[in-house]
């Protein structure tokens, strides 16, 4: 079954004939599509970055209903129960890959503005680094357990005073000597200060850890383990895979970007739809005589309707493809924002997925359909004799 028996080249050449109008209308649609695509790519890029912060076979244990490690508290006794679990991977030395961590927010002056900004301080266990292969020590050495030594993420070294090797950072009434710098790529860890977990507990006068992180021995048994530990009456803990944990953190910002962007796109698209509608009404008005002749030759009303709709769809698809191509160049740009939950800086880029491509093209086709519907209906409704007289 064909969409219309009016030849495709008739439809296509009519678009090409009115070059300027076609260009302007498709250009307007391309702009809207560009905005829509960019927003979706932004959201996807943000999610990808935060998800890559976590390892899929790492588990983060925090207090039930705590959103972040900063808000969380895990008692020593609870940490010990978790540590006694059998389903924890071990390293070559036979040590369990688990880290009881203390996460605290401190405030330090930024190099660029001199104003104070939040930094995450993470006290980790001996296996803290081994649990995160994406974290690589690039300068200096590791902090010695039991000392007031810290290592800092690349972004901290670059962005804050007193964070170079040999400098000391003052917080929690102590001076902490910077002995190393690490790189954690695009993940959130690049904006953290790491030291010994027990030292942090003492310095910040805490009795409970913030979180326990461990690597699963058998990742497939995670769900069973989660169910069991979360039901354990001795514990008020929640288990999440690290991937899920960071994805949840990005949820609010990603959702906000998506909603704001979609609302903006819809508002802009009304303009583009009106543009398409004006263009298509003009096309119909200019071709009244042709419509009359086509009908006289025996083409049905629905064939006329379909032909003009197809013309509008082609117009919008052209705009959609151009807008999408323009948006795809955004992949080369890098952005940074503040992670709303930890308030640490987060670098990410636009990401074009096949799902976004499909959605964006459907969006542009929808604009063409809505904009072209009334003009096409007018063309189809015309009385043959009147159309032949007018044309």
């Amino acid at each position: 079954m064909k969409f219309t028996n009016i030849p495709f080249h008739y439809i296509w050449r009519n678009l090409l004939t009115r070059k300027l109008t076609t260009l302007l209308t498709a250009g307007g649609m391309a702009l809207v599509v560009f905005v829509f695509a960019a927003v979706l790519m932004l959201e996807a890029g943000l999610r990808e970055t935060l998800i890559s912060t976590g390892q899929p076979d790492n588990v983060v244990v925090i207090r039930k209903s705590a959103q972040t490690e900063v808000q969380s508290g895990v008692q020593r006794r609870e940490a010990a129960i978790v540590e006694s679990e059998p389903n924890i991977a071990v390293d070559a030395q036979g040590d369990k890959l688990i880290s009881k961590e203390t996460v605290v927010l401190i405030s330090q002056p930024k190099k660029s503005t001199g104003r104070k900004s939040n930094i995450v301080v993470r006290g980790t266990g001996a296996k803290g680094l081994a649990l995160r292969p994406q974290v690589v020590l690039t300068e200096g050495r590791l902090f010695r357990p039991g000392s007031s030594e810290v290592i800092v993420g690349r972004s901290i070294r670059d962005g804050f005073h007193g964070a170079a090797i040999g400098d000391s950072l003052r917080f929690a009434q102590r001076d902490w000597t910077v002995v190393g710098v690490f790189d954690a790529g695009k993940t959130g860890f690049s904006s953290e200060v790491w030291g010994d977990s027990e030292q942090m507990l003492q310095a910040f006068r805490r009795t409970a850890y913030s979180a326990v992180v461990f690597k699963l021995y058998d990742p497939s048994s995670f769900e069973a383990m989660k169910t069991r530990l979360e039901a354990d009456p001795r514990l008020t803990l929640e288990l999440k895979t690290e991937t899920r944990f960071y994805a949840d953190q990005s949820e609010a910002l990603a959702t906000f970007i998506k909603i704001l962007g979609t609302v903006l796109s819809i508002i802009f698209s009304i303009g583009a739809i009106i543009g398409a509608m004006i263009t298509m009404y003009a096309a119909v008005a200019n071709r009244v005589g042709e419509i009359g002749a086509l009908r006289a030759l025996g083409f049905q009303r629905r064939a006329i309707m379909a032909a003009f709709l197809l013309e509008s769809l082609l117009l919008s698809l052209t705009g959609g493809v151009v807008g999408l191509l323009a948006a795809s160049t955004m992949q080369w740009f890098q952005l940074s924002t503040t992670n709303w939950q930890t308030f640490s800086e987060l670098a990410f880029s636009f990401s074009l997925t096949s799902g976004i491509t499909v959605r964006v093209l459907l969006f542009s086709l929808a604009m063409g359909f809505i904009g072209g519907f009334l003009p096409a209906a007018r063309a189809a409704r015309m009385n043959i004799v009147d159309a032949l007289r007018e044309g």
């Binding site: 028996n5 009016i6 030849p7 080249h9 008739y10 050449r13 009519n14 004939t17 005589g289 042709e290 009359g292 002749a293 086509l294 009908r295 006289a296 030759l297 025996g298 083409f299 049905q300 009303r301 043959i384 004799v385 032949l388 044309g391």
Partner: protein, 242 residues
Amino acid sequence: MSGPAVSLRAVAKTYWRGGQPVPVLTDISFDIQHGDFLALMGPSGSGKSTLLNLIAGIDQPTGGEIRVDDVDIARLSESELADWRARHVGFIFQFYNLMPVLTALENVELPLMLTSLNRRQRREHAQLALEMVGLAERVGHYPNELSGGQQQRVAIARAIVTDPTLIVADEPTGDLDRKSAGEILDLLDRLNGDLGKTIVMVTHDQRAAERAHAIRHLEKGELSALEVAVSRPVTSEREGGG
């Protein structure tokens, strides 16, 4: 074929304008035989185009019966009527009404889109029709690259390409100079004489009307009492003379 090609009985057409009835045709009854070439004449506004449109099935009468090849076309649904037109009627308009974005060949091919012919067959038929009107060399030209007379010949090729029994022409020479008009009339003559097409032509031009077998005059919604037979000159005498 037994009966007449076209048979009208008590056909009436009334338009409504601002709530007021405007009777255009009141009581039209006549037959057109197969192979006839009829000219419809009459003053402007007398309803010639209206009558032609009713016969061609692009307008519906407000009363009476119109039979074409024994089909009561006034009773067909709009959609059936469109299919019927595609198979049985060839249209020639005063202003050609070609599609400007299509070449001569594509314009002639257009009505064949409504047939079951495949692409190659459509091309062949269209090519043949253009050869018949003497435009074999112009198949790739767009309408704006052709003269008025040539455009009307393309339109004639489009009208005959589906091999309809009835050809309707509303002032086919109205927009042409005398020489081009002569060529168009020669062509209609050939369609009628050689191919046996039944032709109904509306015209203001006495000279054009004289090329037909018969003339009917319309005045104030009524047809002239009698068919006026015209002495029909031999085609060959006209050729080249215009």
